[in-house]
């Protein structure tokens, strides 16, 4: 819609080389600054916030949200949304946990099965949205309930108990780290960097922005809109599969039905706080990673300061409002300039 105004004005300028967006945006720098200030303050006012025993578990908690957030960023850039990730997490997690308990599958099989299942769920969403042409929130709200139904069926009125330690390489314990870096977080960073490169440097990545800016214009410009949209949901589904493994590892040896509940909102919060426009057309995966770190910093910080737990909700809510507010203000300023 209005985002498009920028594109023609840039196009009039005679440019010899490709125009690339800046590698990092203002919002990301602001987030880095906010996180840095919070970490310093927490380092001063708590006994051990900046110690490895605190930062390592924090990064383990960040990993699944940021990882799935990468996929969610792709989707929101195309002006879509996926509120089914909570249900999809529950289904992937319970199937994987059952495989581990009943068949004692090795690590690669568990991860591959979870990611394959997630991919299928993502393809279901993507196909319905890209080719059914129904708004993403309607489709994914429907599939959220359906995924949750299947998850509860697999749970079969019981928790999954005595999950073996196979997935502990992604957990908070000693086996979950190499040189002090949690594996789940390292994998997340790798995925974020790949996604950042894809969005910035490949035609496919730029097409996602074009679709979110104005899908019709993108189609007329020769972008294959439907396969690109399908891809965004498929990537999200696959990352949900991996994220579900991270969540099993970050939980206990028992998996209960609450595993996915509310996660979709946590992921969307990280994406929005990270500066991705909910209207589509603009966004950054690095912002999403920073958004997830900020949310977990606030949650951990509130606990470590001994403040009442509900303050974390207040702060996260304020961050969302501030992030969306500045986004809209910037949008207005841009429109005025154009």
């Amino acid at each position: 819609m209005t985002v498009l105004d920028r594109e023609p004005s840039e196009a009039v300028k005679p440019v010899a080389r490709r125009v690339l967006p800046p590698p990092v945006t203002g919002q990301e720098l602001v987030l880095v600054a906010v996180i840095a200030v919070l970490w310093v303050l927490l380092g001063i006012f708590t006994p051990s916030f900046l110690s490895p025993s605190s930062i390592q578990p924090l990064l383990v908690s960040v990993a699944p949200i940021a990882l799935i957030g990468v996929g969610m960023t792709f989707i929101i850039i195309t002006a879509g949304i996926d509120v089914s990730v909570g249900g999809a997490i529950a289904l992937c997690a319970v199937v994987t946990a059952k495989l581990l308990v009943n068949y004692a599958v090795p690590l690669p099989v568990a991860v591959a099965a979870s990611m394959a299942l997630g991919l299928v769920l993502g393809l279901v969403n993507g196909t319905l949205i890209a080719y059914g042409r129904v708004h993403a929130i309607i489709i994914t709200f429907g599939t959220a309930n359906i995924f949750q139904f299947f998850a509860l069926r697999v749970f079969g009125s019981s928790t999954v108990n005595n999950i073996p330690a196979t997935l502990d390489v992604f957990g908070r314990g000693d086996v979950g780290r190499t040189f002090g870096v949690p594996h789940s977080f390292a994998i997340t960073i790798l995925v974020v960097l790949l996604a950042w490169w894809y969005l910035r440097h490949t035609a496919g990545g730029r097409h996602l922005f074009a679709i979110g800016g104005n899908a019709n214009a993108a189609r007329l410009a020769g972008v294959k809109v439907q396969p690109r949209v399908l891809l965004a949901y498929a990537i999200t589904g696959t990352l949900v599969g991996l994220g579900a493994c991270f969540l099993i590892a970050a939980g206990t040896s028992t998996l209960d039905q609450g595993v996915g509940i509310g996660r979709e909102l946590a992921v969307i919060a990280a994406v929005v706080i990270g500066g991705t426009s909910i209207l589509g057309g603009r966004g950054s995966v690095i912002g999403t990673l920073l958004g997830a770190i900020l949310v977990q910093t606030v949650t951990s910080g509130v606990t470590q300061l001994g403040w009442p737990s509900q303050l974390a909700n207040l702060f996260v809510g304020l961050f969302i409002i501030i992030a969306v507010g500045t986004d809209l203000l910037r949008e207005r300023a841009r429109r005025r300039k154009a």
């Binding site: 605190s54 908690s61 509120v83 309607i138 709200f141 000693d174 509310g262």
Partner: protein, 346 residues
């Protein structure tokens, strides 16, 4: 253009509506295959309906199992249905549907006692015997509350088990779940008072709320250990945080330095009891609670008065009744350790 704008606004409004009602609609009972194996109309059998806070978790499924075995022995029909999330509105819908079905007795474990009270009044007006079990709705017309254990029993049981492991002194913290859960908050009040009174060298340094989220409970327990380097105890106040605090201690390599107890279901606590990261789990015999609930429903329908002590079954020979508050008490809480954890299959 105008049309598209209207559509967009409509979609936005709809999505907002969907998001805000997400909990409620997802809480709708989608699992109607709930266990009414006698099916169809009850005939002349007494129908006792029980509405748990949520169904599909081991705790309430164990209650259901107990209710079913009571139904078989007592010759009544046991109906069991609850929401799939602990949601007061979804639970209210189920209660209404049982009122419409004109069951003989309706027993609820309310998610929100205050909003359940008018519904219980409605049921009583329709001639249905009403009661509560597991969680009370004190300001309602319920004729009996089937209490799993006294508030003092649980609070003191948790405190004694933890302080025994901690050697009678030290700092500890509590990871609770829902901030508004009346029973959890009542237990915590007892823990505070009892700790101050019986263990003057022990101190509760913080109480945090993780919701019903295992990963959050684990991460908050980790934060508490970092915030209080001299912490030697953690309590997991509900079935999701009890294994969570033990996992956090085990992950941090502090087994034997930081001790934990909690209200966990036996099978979920077993690995932690075995590796020593959990010292004990305090619970009650959940199946017996289900049995007692079904029995109490039948007594209400038949108009039998409760005695000061009641012989319910061979396993429940002496159930105490507090006539003033209309409370049936299952008995003292159980302490589950490595010794007896295998006696329970839930």
């Amino acid at each position: 253009m105008l049309k598209r704008k209207a559509l967009a606004v409509g979609a936005l409004a709809l999505s907002a509506a969907l998001l805000t009602t997400a909990c409620t609609s997802r809480g709708n009972p989608n699992d109607t295959s709930a266990d009414s194996d006698s099916g169809g109309s009850a005939g002349d059998q007494v129908a006792v309906a029980f509405v748990p806070k949520l169904q599909g978790i081991p705790y309430f499924e164990a209650m259901n199992a107990g209710g079913q075995s009571a139904a078989k022995e007592l010759g009544i029909e046991w109906l069991y249905q609850g929401p799939t999330t602990a949601d007061a509105a979804a639970q209210a819908d189920i209660v209404r549907s049982f009122i419409q079905q004109k069951v003989d007795a309706l027993i609820v474990a309310p998610n929100d006692p205050d909003s359940m009270a008018p519904l219980l009044q409605e049921a009583a007006d329709a001639g249905i015997a009403v009661g509560t079990s597991d969680t009370d709705a004190p300001n309602s017309v319920r004729e009996v509350f089937v209490n799993q254990a006294s508030v003092e029993g649980i609070g003191q049981g948790l405190t004694d088990a933890l302080l025994e492991a901690m050697g009678g002194s030290g700092k500890y913290a509590i990871v609770s779940c829902g901030e508004t859960a009346a029973n959890l908050n009542a237990w915590i009040d007892v823990q505070k008072a009892y700790t101050a009174e019986k263990y003057p060298d022990a101190e509760i340094v913080d109480i945090v709320y993780a919701g019903e989220d295992q990963a959050a409970a684990t991460s908050m327990a980790t934060d508490l250990m970092n915030a209080h380097p001299d912490l030697t105890g953690l309590v997991g106040e509900c079935t999701s945080s009890a294994p969570g605090v033990a996992q956090a201690v085990s992950d941090a390599g502090k087994t034997g330095t930081v001790f934990t107890v909690g209200l966990g279901t036996p099978q979920s606590m077993k690995p932690y009891l075995e590796d020593g990261s959990s010292s004990a789990s305090i619970l009650w015999d959940v199946e017996a609670l289900g049995y007692l609930t079904a029995w109490a429903g039948l007594q209400l329908v038949e108009g039998n008065e409760f005695q000061a002590t009641n012989k319910v079954s061979d396993d429940l020979p002496e159930v105490e009744y507090d006539a003033e508050n209309k409370v049936l008490l299952l008995g003292p809480p159980l302490r589950i350790t490595t010794e007896n954890v295998d006696d329970f299959d839930y």
